[in-house]
């Protein structure tokens, strides 16, 4: 077998047709919404922030206050500094946040706005005033996908805040783009190991707040500035996502490692038993404790479920799509339960997905892998392959509808269902939830298609 996996492919069409990705400032906005008392500010046209808000509201079903510097023609010619100044002053006036997180856009980057300088000059002009912390991530949408924006924002946070200090026993957790419920579950797990964790960032509460009654200008929850600062004195960093681990460019984890000597543990998203085992093993070694009985039982129940349901899944053709790290995590799990993953699709272009799936996950030789692609290409392949099930975000619904096959909604976005914030993907508990959903979707399809209908499986 040829060991060098080619990462180059040519799309059938020059145009992107139904993109399987979103733009970088959206990813940055998700990360920034996980910072306590922080207002994200998008340096670009008004539409950038409004579209992102709308997209995120439809998924999280939460107020999503993200400000804009609202470029005018004048700003597009002479630079957005004046608008930045007005925006920051108005945000302070209305929200009084602890921090303002700036994400650049294709517009501001193309005209060459130097954000570092603009922020520095703003601070100089307002010297002596009590200002929120202002920091920035470069997220032009012509560079990568929303995931690149997500990681750029995460890196910008640790670069801005992390400082050295007395070594602590804290763990930095970079969970990747997972659901608020996933973060909540991971927090419980780390707590149960007696580990104090800083989630960077922690949008468990901010993106899934309880009912309020009185409006809050800023949602509750999020990673505090003190926590972000302490990232530089942590005992270790855990960075989830296999493409991230292989990324050439600096990540938040590698930065903390180089700058402060904090050991970095790179793991895949803990989906399925193998990857969850690896995650728990890492926690065992970090905490020096064995996995609590609760999790041994969760794992046991999951194995039990795998056995109970194995016949319904075996050999069923699945198409998995979404962010590269999520796809890799899901495939690793689906391979455990006998589903035949026939096609893996992502709009991401880290160039790593194919190699990781082949070498780390050791997928079957017939599995097709399409990265840097779009939904229309996926649809065309699906019409040929005729899969039994789709697993991915809600944007693939139209394909599942056309082919009359179930879609199990995971990841982001889920715009056509309730509970997107609470979809569980990670660890034994998340895998259990995915397993039940996927198996039941296949059972339901068979039941619906049976000529008699039946009451027992």
């Amino acid at each position: 077998m040829n060991t060098t996996v080619s990462n180059q492919r040519t799309k059938t069409y020059a145009a992107t047709r139904n993109a399987c990705k979103i733009c970088a400032p959206l990813g940055a906005s998700v990360v920034f919404k996980g910072v306590r008392n922080c207002v994200p500010l998008i340096h670009g046209s008004q539409g950038c922030s409004t579209y992102i808000r709308r997209y995120m509201i439809s998924h999280y079903k939460e107020p999503m206050d993200i400000a804009s510097t609202n470029f005018t023609e004048e700003a597009a010619i002479f630079g957005g500094e004046r608008n930045f100044d007005t925006a920051v002053r108005n945000i302070i006036e209305q929200y009084n946040p602890e921090s303002i997180a700036v994400a650049s856009t294709c517009l501001s980057e193309t005209i060459g706005d130097d954000m570092e300088k603009i922020i520095r000059q703003f601070k100089a002009r307002h010297a002596g005033e009590s200002l929120p912390d202002i920091f920035f991530a470069s997220t032009p949408s012509y560079k990568g996908t929303h995931m690149d924006g997500f990681h750029a924002a995460t890196l910008s946070l640790v670069k801005h805040f992390a400082s050295s200090g007395e070594p602590t026993n804290k763990i930095n957790v970079f969970p990747g783009f997972v659901s608020p419920q996933d973060i909540r579950n991971l927090k419980t797990i780390l707590q149960d190991f007696g580990l104090e964790a800083t989630f960077i960032t922690d949008y468990d509460e901010t993106m899934d707040n309880p009912s309020w009654y009185t409006y809050k200008n800023l949602p509750e929850g999020g990673t505090s500035i003190a926590q972000l600062q302490s990232a530089g004195s942590a005992m270790a960093s855990v960075e989830l996502g296999k493409t991230l681990a292989k990324q050439q460019e600096e990540t938040a984890g590698t930065y903390l490692n180089h700058q402060f000597g904090i050991p970095k543990i790179s793991l895949g998203l803990p989906i399925g038993i193998h990857e969850s085992d690896a995650f728990f093993k890492a926690l065992e070694s970090l905490s020096g404790k064995e996995s609590p009985a609760k999790y041994i039982a969760e794992r046991g129940r999951l194995v039990d479920a795998y056995v109970d349901g194995h016949k319904y899944n075996f050999g069923k053709k699945a198409v998995v799509y979404g962010e590269e790290d999520l796809v890799i995590g899901l495939v690793s799990f689906l391979e455990e339960i006998g589903l035949d993953v026939v096609l893996c699709v992502s709009g991401g272009k880290s160039g790593q997905m194919k190699r990781i799936l082949k070498e780390d996950i050791q997928i079957k030789s017939h599995t097709e892998i399409l990265d840097d692609t779009d939904f229309e290409e996926m649809a065309e392949r699906c019409r040929e392959i005729r899969p039994d099930i789709l697993i991915g975000n809600s944007k693939g619904y139209y394909i599942s509808r056309e082919l009359n096959i179930p879609l199990v909604r995971v990841g982001f976005p889920i715009h056509d269902r309730m509970g997107a914030q609470r979809v569980q993907h990670l660890a034994y508990i998340g895998t259990q939830s995915l397993f039940d959903k996927i198996t039941n979707a296949l059972i339901e399809k068979k039941q619906n298609e049976s000529p008699v209908g039946y009451k027992y499986m």
Binding site: T16, A19, P25, T50, I57, T86, E93, Q94, T105, Y215
Partner: protein, 446 residues
């Protein structure tokens, strides 16, 4: 910390208290979390429902991803408008130009989908990187023998409303292209209805019952060929005046087609929209048919509304929507089911719109232009609204504060226009306001 920013104070008026002239139709204030989008958005929402055209967005991926299948604009035929095409410009193309990719992308898609026309939207950076989109459109147009229309819509070049004008200019390039020239008797174009949840079909049915011929619908369930012959209509009906008035004026100037502004929301406005057409054609038979239609519809509707009105009487509503015409109609529609409007606002209203709102509302009503979540939540609380009527971005504000919400947005699944729409509206308001869930949203210990 102030909820209302200094530079926005003149965009908020309380009837009976404030005497100043309301400011409006200006760029959103930087840092205010405006609910508006941008020029591109304005052009995109208007052109989107032209179902047999190819819509391709030239720029980085975001704008196309965010507007994929975004409106509930139904088609009775082709579904091409629901696909999202973009050149998805990458860094290299930003540096070396995107013209080649654009040319290839559009040519290939025309070959594949055989659209009746193509709209090529240029977003923020296209002009800045020096792409000559117009020249490429002309070239492809010649080669493929269809109209390839550039839509210059950089987000920063004004407000969402300016995007409406960009869209109208693009449509205007198609108008008059058919060789027909004779004005068709008793015929209209329906401008500014986007066939959300099939609303246009309700309207078409009403007008056809009256013996009116519909030449084109711009842009709901829109067809390129219909637009090309839309200059043969005798009258333009313009709803959503903010978005389509430019086209109506243009057609008046070029083809001498008069226009009337109408709204199809609520009984009053819907009935006026039918009578106006009949009166315009001075056709007694048409007037008779209109009055029979209106009478029948209202006779059926009023008793159906009665139980809702009984329960909803005295409840307070807050309105914050994109177009002012919709806000104005909603005030009247709410009154019909016994409800008071305590807050009313829009993203894109003009001076006259706000004067009309002021006239229609009771003293104490808050009138808002280009508002934001902080203001909306403050006034909703102060005015003790029972329901907020708005779009996707307003919904979580209402829900978080424990009040009802009515979706009057682009993705709605229930028709709210016409007589059928009025009953749907009452049902939706009722279902939200009367839901038992609010018992749990009041602050209370367990």
């Amino acid at each position: 910390m102030d909820t209302i920013l200094k530079d926005r104070q003149k965009q908020i008026l309380i009837k009976g208290k404030d005497q100043f002239q309301m400011e409006c139709a200006k760029a959103s204030l930087a840092g205010s979390v405006s609910q508006r989008a941008c020029v591109f958005c304005g052009s995109r929402v208007v052109l989107y429902p032209i179902v047999d055209a190819l819509h391709l967005i030239h720029g980085p991926v975001g704008c196309a991803a965010f507007t994929w299948d975004i409106r509930g604009s139904l088609s009775s035929g082709p579904q091409l408008h629901r696909l999202s095409f973009t050149t998805d410009l990458s860094e290299n193309e930003v540096i070396f130009g995107g013209e080649k990719k654009l040319y290839k992308a559009v040519s290939e898609l025309i070959d594949k989908h055989r659209p009746k026309a193509a709209f090529i939207y240029s977003t923020c950076i296209v002009g800045l990187i020096g792409d000559d989109v117009e020249a490429i459109c002309k070239k492809i147009s010649r080669e493929k023998n269809i109209e390839v229309i550039p839509v210059q819509a950089p987000g920063f070049a004004g407000t969402k409303k300016d995007g409406y004008k960009v869209a109208c200019d693009a449509i205007a390039q198609l108008v008059g292209m058919s060789k027909e020239s004779k004005t068709r008797p008793n015929s209209i174009n329906i401008l500014g209805d986007f066939n959300l949840a099939g609303e246009l079909w309700l309207l078409k049915d009403y007008y056809e019952q009256m013996g009116v011929e519909i030449v084109s619908t711009i842009t709901g369930d829109g067809r390129v060929d219909d637009i090309k012959r839309s200059h043969t209509a005798a009258l333009n009906l313009v709803q959503c005046s903010g978005s389509m008035i430019h086209l109506a004026k243009d057609m008046k100037e070029k083809y001498n087609i008069p226009f009337k502004r109408v709204s199809y929301f609520g009984i009053e406005d819907m009935s006026t929209a039918l009578y106006e057409v009949a009166r315009f054609f001075s056709n007694s038979e048409m007037i008779r048919k209109a009055s029979v239609l209106v009478k029948n519809e209202i006779n059926a509707l009023l008793p159906a509304l009665a139980p809702y009105k009984q329960k909803l009487a005295g409840k307070r509503a807050a309105i914050y929507v994109g177009g002012a015409f919709k806000a104005i109609s909603l005030i009247k529609a709410l009154r019909l089911i016994g409800m008071d409007t305590v807050i009313v606002g829009s993203q894109t209203g003009n001076k006259d719109d706000y004067l009309l709102m002021k006239e229609l509302c009771d003293a104490g009503t808050v009138i808002l232009d280009d508002s934001n979540p902080m203001e909306l939540s403050k006034f909703v609380q102060e005015k003790q609204a029972d329901i907020l009527i708005g779009g996707v971005k307003e919904r979580p504000i209402a829900y978080k504060m424990g009040l009802g919400f009515c979706d009057h947005n682009h993705e709605r699944k229930e028709a709210l226009a016409g007589y059928q729409g009025m009953i749907n509206f009452a049902k939706e308001v009722y279902a939200s306001v009367m839901s038992p869930v609010w018992q749990f949203t009041k602050p209370k210990s367990l």
